[in-house]
Symmetry: C4
Subunit: 352 residues, 4 copies
């Protein structure tokens, strides 16, 4: 099944010298959670074997279990860190229903939690360092100078090579750079936003001037909009019985909130876009998912698409999107735009 796959592509992480596979594998909502350990190992092995070098996790994924199992896979297969790009994220802590005690400082971006949190992440991963550490959210209660200094502290201590952000506003990222420049420190080199054919505003409009100004790279999560862009919900009148969508999820507020949107107005509008995209995918001989991934990769500011997989086959299917990228001619892109009808308004760049 891994045969006849297109060769992996690699991109620089923004303006840094680090290269990441255009398709990467993330542990969100899967590893350490509903995907069992053996499946996790086989997905990671499949990804590694087809050239994925970038594996993404977070302290907040499955209360830390995602880091544990992904670290075990690295040990199990004898992979070397110089062949991998490992990232984790600090902000959410490991608080979950089973461990509600004193989560006060065990989250956020205080100097205390950035340092303690990364130390605990490295312990769970059983690694001396990660390549990238993300601020998993902005922390509007901690001064940006404290945040910038804390991430530089862990970089200086050799616990990470680069730091980035996730779901920060453009002006928050710019503030971090302003403080970093003022103090001669290292700024955030990458942002991890949601980006897909149904969520374009932030990447295409809000962040627009950051790419040239600060060399910002993007490692994208939810490139398939929680599966909506695969088309699997287009003929579903109600959430599949027994699915997490139907029954909610005790662990993940994200899934619970997502389930609540099932069938609402936005949901229906999204399905309509998917329906209009379908003939274009068929014209290209691609699945809807592959079309959606290829479209996101067409954006030169995207360094990597972080995909999820609970079976190796899903890894292979996603990688096939690489072969679709070149088929996205100006004409096809125009058709996609017409189907999507959601291009953000062009804004004059602030600083260029």
């Amino acid at each position: 099944m891994a045969e006849n796959l297109p060769p992996m592509q690699y991109r620089f992480l923004g303006r840094t010298g680090l290269k990441v596979s255009a398709i990467s594998l993330g542990g969100w909502l899967t590893y350490g959670g509903h995907v069992d350990d053996e499946k996790t190992y086989s997905c990671m092995k499949a990804a590694y074997d087809v050239g994925v070098n970038f594996f993404d996790t977070a302290e907040g994924y499955e209360g830390g279990k995602s880091e544990i199992i992904m670290g075990q896979a690295i040990k199990k297969f004898g992979w070397k860190q110089q062949d991998l790009v490992i990232s984790t994220k600090i902000y959410h802590g490991q608080a979950n229903a089973a461990n509600p005690a004193n989560p006060l400082n065990n989250k956020g971006l205080s100097r205390k939690h950035v340092i303690e949190g990364l130390d605990l992440s490295l312990k769970r991963l059983d690694l001396p360092y990660v390549d990238i550490v993300y601020a998993h959210r902005p922390d509007r209660q901690t001064p940006i100078e404290e945040v910038v200094r804390a991430f530089n502290h862990v970089i200086n201590q050799g616990k990470a090579f680069y730091w980035g952000t996730s779901e920060w506003s453009a002006s928050e990222i710019a503030s971090a750079w302003r403080v970093a420049d003022k103090l001669g420190l290292i700024g955030p080199v990458v942002e991890q936003p949601q980006y897909n054919l149904l969520a374009r505003e932030r990447v295409e409009a809000e962040y627009r001037w950051l790419y040239a100004e600060h060399g910002l790279g993007l490692t994208v999560f939810s490139p398939l909009k929680q599966g909506i862009l695969t088309g699997k919900y287009n003929d579903v009148a109600a959430p599949p019985p027994g699915s997490r969508l139907a029954e909610g999820d005790g662990r993940s507020a994200f899934i619970t909130n997502f389930a609540k949107t099932f069938g609402d107005e936005t949901w229906k509008a999204n399905l309509a876009v998917v329906a209009r995209l379908k003939p274009i995918a068929e014209e290209l001989g691609a699945t809807l998912a592959q079309l959606a991934l290829a479209w996101a990769l067409k954006n030169p500011n995207v360094s990597s698409l972080i995909t999820g997989a609970s079976r190796p086959e899903q890894v292979f299917e996603n990688v096939k999107a690489l072969a679709v990228v070149d088929k996205l001619t100006p004409e096809i892109l125009a058709k996609i735009e017409e189907a999507a009808q959601n291009a953000p308004e062009a804004q004059p760049l602030r600083f260029v």
Copy 2:
């Protein structure tokens, strides 16, 4: 007795991202001294159980024994540092009557003592780092640049996350910030002053412009003015026989000096204030102590009140003050002001 307590409140330590319990527990004059080890453990356990996360000690408390016993409690109960905020203070050394040898450099804020002193404190605490390290007094014989660099050194080495001051003048704190800003270093984020209804000048007048200018937080010691604000001395003609107040204290110059003030003019004036506060406390259904603590918590610049306790019950009594804070309406506060008659004169702010 811990039942029906109001929930703990948490506040940021000044402008940092660190959250401390509004009521915290300090080892001053108690732990490692006249309070035995078992009592110390039970007080700390009681505090932890009602949500206190901030525990304060110093190299100078009981010649270092306060740090030893408080560190043992942390180990004994298996508490994790990410759930705690531990502070210690450097300045006084561990010199006491039993150890008079060569205290020359084993105190003060020289680079030597800040580094050596904190290393010894961490050894006594048996912890790899504290959250906050305070300069326990200003050292007017050591250049402020040496002091600022020394505290940044221990922060860079991972031995503390934040540094603060205790009993520094406003202009000394501002000088530290000026040097820190000039050198791109971290300034002191918190001051530990005395503050209570009988000692208001420094916090309400002298420091006034530092809160907005430098985001200074306050962790207050002696919020009950060595017990005077509990009213326990109001009907006492002479120091209780056998008490430390009557017999002095071989170890603590503070207690010895305090004992000397018994019955003097200021003492009498203070008791008069307490007498006038009593009906207000009764009106609110609170003890005098709870009224005094609640009043100090009403000050938004206060991050935490460091209380002492030699029995768990005292912890619970102090925590009940949290329920009184909201009862301090403008009318009640006006009555308190009238009773206290010691509001510092308003001064125009220097920099705002």
Copy 3:
């Protein structure tokens, strides 16, 4: 054979306080490769005994084996690091035919590879630090700020004392200094270029203003132009059968490329220069190689000539060039210039 050798000369590494032997020994194309371990030991011992203190290697030499065997020699002979100047170079990784897997980030000058690469080099060398770490090539895909910060990081961590460049353009070196100066960091103090009587442009023209401006030192590789300047190819119609030149080299792209130039126009022109130099060497009672080395040492910007040797005798022969330097009177130098006919055009200095 080591008798009657001229005493070793030592020069500062550019403007630094480090002294290197004017003749040094490099592991390129020899140690860990076609020169066996015993020969490697005896060459290094011979060099050490005649006063060579500078030994040069690289992560990319023989896939890391050069570092391993040279480190073993240091251990074997009980040499102390304070008596040696050890350098290695980061850029090429250890990728070779036997290990093609994922060389993505295991090369270049990203922060990741500089730090990981040097750690692996130190492990192979079995040393806690090197004296000099070179950026073995410019990395035009990594921002110069990332590169400068990465080399400063390893210096701050005690893994190297100085950093330099190899085969960087003058403007790349100047850019590194500009970033270093802006950030208050340490700039590159030495460049390792090719320099010999047949390759003069870069050292004599392009770098000309860097010597005074940044105190740049030069550690020269290929001072004999891969042996052409020994005259050994002057009477050779075809590559010696069985030689690496005839049969290429599976490992080294350099040798393979060099072999391709055999007999071309530049090759012939070079041999003609050598033929014209021969009578000058004879007049001085020196070999052609000694004349060529002495001529390069006459350049005051040269800190050291990195020579190769597969037998101790070659070390001794090279060291004898030191006795020829003083014989290069203005008259002799004029004769050499006439024979070489390749003096770079004088350019006005940019900044002087």
Copy 4:
């Protein structure tokens, strides 16, 4: 014999917060050399017992043996570093007749030797850090920026608290401060010069403006001018037979050079000064040595006089000078000036 000694006095090391005993003990020309180990221990013990807290040594004293034996004394008596001020000096290396091999980089102030040299000193002392590390001489072949960065590196690594200079010119010290200020680094806080009644120019004239400008402290060596100021040479027609002065010293170039001056014009002039000082000492009931030490201590820029001792009695004799300081009234000082006839010309201060 240690009875009835005046109490030790302590002074700040220049403008730092470190306090050193006004009389300190140095290992130069004694410990690890002609003074045997037991005598060394008893001298150090005697000094410690009378309040000396500052012990001075150097990598270059007796080829490193001074550091070894002084470190052993600290271990032997169980002294704690927080009660001591230990200094060593880097520059001369440990080169001596028995170890001439490759002293190239094993001396001077290159980054390599400062770091390697201090590491070796700490190993010999068997201590994790010293309080003060001196640049034992200026190194005019190493850029001052490299020197300043190297000493800051060892301070940042926790291997020393302060750095100073020894026998640097005023403009070299000022250059170091200029570079330190430009880069936001720590400058040299103390100079170790010769200073005594027969050698005053540098301390009283050349360095004059550095005290206020940079807070420079002085730790003085040779306060008795190699014994001349004790008067012991005044009735000696020839060097005492069998003395080091008569027979030279295979180890110390200093002693050999000093011996050469015996009886020359300067020698005679110095003896004449001593002869004129004698009645003043007698008037004060002090020895000549005590008068000379007390006179040097009268200079407020002097932090400590580093004295030598081969017997505990010498320590006690030197300490008695402390009782003489207050006897140096303006009238007595005027008499001393008249006897010395060597007051440096007053120079207008450059920067004040």
